[in-house]
């Protein structure tokens, strides 16, 4: 297993990947179990950043800048996504207060 040099010290790359996986899992569970719409959005951001971390780790490991480019791209998309998601939420909040996302189940078939 290769190592990465971070701040002058050598660290096994697997730890970074493990961190990414744990963050991603926390984000996923947050999306699944939390009810507040804002917290769900935050959890999604967490998942995205977990992926970004993984991309950058592989980029450093493979000495290939494409991974970093991809991470930048992903951040841009995440920003846009946050804007759109928040805008929708704000619009909904104009109509009524939503504390539980389950209240928004009008699309039930």
């Amino acid at each position: 297993m290769s190592t990465l040099e971070i701040g002058g010290s050598q660290l096994d790359a697997a730890w970074f990947l493990l961190l990414g996986g744990v963050l991603f899992a926390i984000g996923t569970v947050g999306v699944l179990v939390r009810r507040n719409p804002l917290v769900i959005l935050i959890s999604i951001e967490l998942m995205l950043n977990a992926v970004n971390l993984t991309l950058i780790v592989f980029s450093r490991q493979l000495q290939n800048m494409e991974g970093q480019l991809f991470a930048l791209m992903s951040m841009t998309v995440a920003a846009a996504e946050a804007v759109v998601g928040l805008a929708i939420l704000v619009d909904i909040f104009h109509v009524r207060d939503v504390e539980d996302i389950d209240e928004l189940s009008e699309m039930k078939g």
């Binding site: 699944l32 928004l104 189940s105 039930k108």
Partner: protein
């Protein structure tokens, strides 16, 4: 104007009138309907007169309707003395009757009024197309169109259930005939590869016929009298003629057709359409002259129908139904005449019948009008003094029907009987002559019964109107004109007496051939004797039905009266033989095929779609977390699959 344009004008003027009145024509003032409706028929009559006096003749092709290889259907009109003769009857008598309708239908509201004249003009157009058509295809078109207009006019009062049923019955019976006609035309086309009369009959005359060049079939030679395909075609055409002319066994629609307004009965079901069968036999006489079996069948059908219908007429109490059975009987005479080859006699009787039967129907219409739509003769009585002009006209019509000299009916009927009696070496002609004479006597009796019941004696206590009023002028004048024609019409052809002019026979000689045998002196004597006996029976009816000094015949023969009142059970037999089995079949089809199979398939498809949709819609819970869970689950499965693939 050239002859071809004139012939087209005769045909298209009524069509133009119908188009003008159709649709929203009633939005125009009623006077437009009154002028256009009868006006176009009068104009057509004028054009026909120009053809008549111009001695027009010819076969005019206007355009090609269908052309496909050797199959070539032109639109051509055949103008010869037979079609001009028929056009004169149709437009002349037709114009009088349509004019009469102006008064008879005046109680209708505007849309119905315009609708009536539209249908009448459509009928005149169809009938003219039928007689002017120069080929079998347009003959069939006209044949079907008169059936359609008859249907529309019988069912004119469509609010009445009985009228709708009668119209449907007439249509079904006529379609049976149409099928026969069309099959007959097919047989002729398959045999001769031509649809125009000219081309077909030319091949008959020469005795040999060749298919058009390009078809590898050799020329065939016909031996007169044993051509089986001609017999087949003649029998099939006879089916059409029998259905249209209400002859046995396809006659049951005509009495019911009296549900229509009285001018319709006069025009379609007395004067013109029902005589189309006679025209057809006359027009096809080159075929029938060769197809002797079919030709003899025509005579037998006519004779049997004449007698059969006359006997039923004895017991009818509805004045229009008496006239309807009398019409069947008189058309039977015409079939008898053309069936033995006395074409001109048959057509003379057609003309005479158009005069006196239209007269009788319209005079009866005046009576019905005055009696506030009561048609039961038992409730009339004593009208002679109260409706003098109508009564005299009706009497003239009745005596013409009986065949009293010198009215037109005497000359035409006795000419038919004389021709049958004197046809040399033909036992069939002699047999139908006997039937014809018996029918003539019965005719005298039932006509007398009708006359005395309705007009003689004292007013019936059940009469709806105590002091009836004479009809309006517009209804009276056509009746009087026809009465005058019934009186003087016979003098254009007095051959029945062996002397005098024979205008009709001479005129038609070029179309249906000259008179083939001369009447002998015995026929004239017997004819006069028949006339005297029939007239005596006419008078004797007074004893039975007004004075009641003689015991009614029906009390001695109650079974016969019942048989006649049930019209020989024809309706019941047809009901049991065709209507009820068909209804049963339809019920079985509805219950065992339509509902389980077709209905089941259609409804089942719908049900399956609904069930599938509702079970699928369970997945659409509307909860965000459910969708995310499915998404994550999918991602996990995809990841696991990737890992498995990567490790193997």
């Amino acid at each position: 104007m050239s002859t071809s344009q004139l012939a087209l004008a005769v045909l298209l003027l009524p069509a133009a009138g119908a188009i003008l009145l159709a649709g929203r024509g009633w939005r125009l003032p009623r006077i437009v309907t009154v002028i256009v409706g009868p006006g176009v028929v009068w104009a057509s009559f004028a054009a026909t007169l120009m053809l008549f006096f111009g001695q027009a003749k010819g076969d005019f092709t206007y355009w090609t309707w269908i052309k496909s290889g050797t199959f070539d259907v032109p639109f051509n009109l055949l103008v010869d003395n037979l079609s001009i003769f028929m056009c004169l009857v149709i437009t002349g008598v037709g114009a009088l009757i349509v004019t009469y309708s102006v008064g008879y239908m005046e109680h209708e509201d505007d849309p119905s009024y315009a609708r009536f004249f539209t249908y009448m003009d459509v009928f005149i157009f169809s009938m003219l197309l039928l007689v002017l058509a120069g080929n079998f295809v347009f003959l069939i078109v006209g044949w079907a169109l008169v059936g359609l207009s008859s249907y529309l006019l019988i069912g004119f009062w469509y609010q009445r259930r009985s009228a709708v049923l009668a119209a449907r019955k007439a249509f079904v019976m006529n379609v049976i005939g149409d099928v026969g006609m069309i099959l007959g035309a097919f047989v002729i086309f398959v045999t001769y590869h031509a649809v125009t009369y000219g081309a077909v009959f030319a091949q008959l005359k020469s005795g040999t016929f060749c298919p058009p060049p390009g078809q590898l079939t050799q020329c065939l030679h016909i031996v007169g009298g044993d051509s089986s395909s001609l017999e087949l075609a003649a029998f099939l055409l006879l089916v059409g003629a029998v259905a249209k002319s209400a002859q046995l066994p396809l006659h049951t629609w005509l009495p019911d057709a009296m549900e229509g307004p009285t001018p319709v009965s006069a025009l379609i079901h007395a004067a013109t359409m029902v005589t189309a069968g006679v025209y057809l036999i006359g027009r096809m006489h080159p075929i029938y002259d060769i197809a002797t079996y079919a030709h003899n069948t025509v005579a037998i059908v006519g004779a049997v129908t004449a007698l059969f219908a006359a006997t039923i007429a004895i017991v009818q109490t509805d004045i229009k139904r008496v006239l309807a059975y009398s019409t069947m009987s008189q058309i039977g005479y015409m079939f008898l005449a053309v069936g033995i080859g006395a074409y001109a006699a048959g057509f003379f009787h057609l003309l005479a019948h158009a005069f006196f039967k239209a007269l009788l129907f319209m005079a009866a219409g005046n009576v019905i009008h005055a009696m506030h739509d009561e048609q039961d003769m038992r409730k009339f009585g004593g009208l002679f003094r109260q409706l003098p002009r109508t009564s005299w006209s009706f009497l003239i019509g009745s005596l013409a029907l009986v065949g009293v000299i010198p009215l037109v009916g005497f000359f035409s009927k006795e000419q038919i009987l004389g021709a049958a009696f004197s046809k040399p070496d033909d036992s069939l002609a002699l047999a139908v002559w006997v039937v014809g004479v018996v029918t003539a006597l019965i005719t005298g009796f039932y006509t007398g019964r009708m006359w005395w019941m309705a007009f003689g004696g004292k007013p019936s206590p059940e009469r709806p109107v105590a002091v009836p009023h004479e009809a309006r002028l517009v209804m009276m004048v056509p009746v009087l004109i026809l009465a005058a024609l019934s009186v003087v019409g016979g003098f254009i052809q007095t051959r029945a007496l062996g002397i005098g002019p024979s205008q009709v026979s001479d005129f038609l000689a070029s179309a249906v051939g000259p008179v083939r045998w001369e009447e002998n002196a015995g026929a004239i004597v017997i004819g006069l004797a028949t006339m005297v006996l029939a007239a005596l029976l006419f008078l004797a009816a007074y004893r039975w039905y007004v004075a009641r000094t003689w015991t009614p015949w029906s009390s001695r023969l109650p079974w016969a009266q019942r048989l006649l009142e049930r019209k020989y059970y024809f309706d019941e037999i047809y009901d049991a033989a065709f209507v009820r089995p068909m209804d049963g079949l339809a019920d079985v089809g509805l219950r065992d095929i339509e509902k389980p199979v077709f209905d089941g398939a259609v409804v089942g498809t719908g049900r399956a779609a609904v069930a599938g949709a509702s079970s699928l819609s369970l997945t659409q819970s509307g909860y965000f977390r459910n969708y995310v869970l499915v998404f994550v689950g999918g991602a996990v499965v995809a990841a696991v699959l990737l890992l498995i693939r990567a490790s193997s």
